[in-house]
Amino acid sequence: MKARVVAPVFDDITPYSYDWSRDVLGWLKDKGYITEDFSNDAIPRARVENGIDSVDLFVFYDHGSEDALWGSQDEAVIDLDNYNLLAGKTVYTMACLSARSLGVKLWQLKTVFWGYYEPFSFTTDALSEFKHFANSGIWYRLQSATWKDAFEASKELGYALSSKLSQTGKFIASVLMRQDTDALRCYDATAPSTSCTFRALALKLFGRSGWFITKTRTLATLLFGIGFGISLHDFCDALFKAGGYKEILSPQGGYFGFILMLIAFLLEFIDFLQVIRR
């Protein structure tokens, strides 16, 4: 197994995340991973993209935004233009906000994504606790936990650390630890949540593939169904007027037309499902 750890340093905050990533790098080496360490400076996008095909686990410790992971102040190393490079891999990050859009897009490509839905926050009076929490998911996973179990264990740890911090008078740290815990997402253990009722229904019916069903496709399917129904009704009505139920139940050339339309629709739909499940 090959892991690429990317931990750029380019402002006052990134030395903290760089420091935290050192533990993760050590654990990966201990577990026999072939590791690549891109860190301790601004990291160019091209360097991260180069040879990424051979990587199984992509670890990123630095700033993030809803749709990008940043290698320097002005260059994203992963964004919506190159995220497909991580299809089918595992992404573990403490980057802020990245679970909102980038994580969902990666999950659609069968990538396991670990990240945060809100800004990751911490205080300097509780650095060891925040490091413990940020690194916990990969630690549990390396101890052979499933991602689902690792996610639940990290959530439990976060709430326990929040409680511990309040007991030692670090109330601000306690509140932020609670926030970070609430913001943690693992898109493998759970599917990305949605506030759209129809999207939720699509996810329930088709699983991960439900994210690929667009409004246009839904409208097109609906219009086809209504049009098909109206046409069939009017056709049968014309037959009824011509010869009653006997005429409706007798073989008609028009029925073949309807059957062919229905077969074409089903073939196209099955093809669509196969494409999005790839």
Binding site: F120, F122, T123, S163, S166, K170, I172, L176, R178
Partner: protein, 76 residues
């Protein structure tokens, strides 16, 4: 004491005790001293990232609430 007043008082008290510690939220770094000033000025960012979650935790955790009250030396 309302939860918002309680949260602001507690943040100010802790910030006074540790003015050199820092809080990091995404790309923003504030010393507790700066945090204290912003909390006093009614800063929107501090309200969103700290005061509202503080109020939420005060509401959800009786233990947290009791400890904050002890720090402030107040009784409900």
């Amino acid at each position: 004491m309302k939860d918002k007043e309680l949260a602001i008082a507690a943040i100010k008290e802790e910030a006074k005790q540790k003015p050199d510690e820092k809080v990091v939220v995404g790309k923003i770094v504030l010393s507790y001293g700066e945090l204290l000033k912003k909390a006093e000025d009614g800063d929107k960012f501090v309200e969103d990232f700290l005061i509202k979650p503080y109020m939420k935790l005060l509401k959800e955790s009786k233990d947290f609430r009791n400890k904050v009250m002890v720090m402030l030396g107040v009784k409900e």
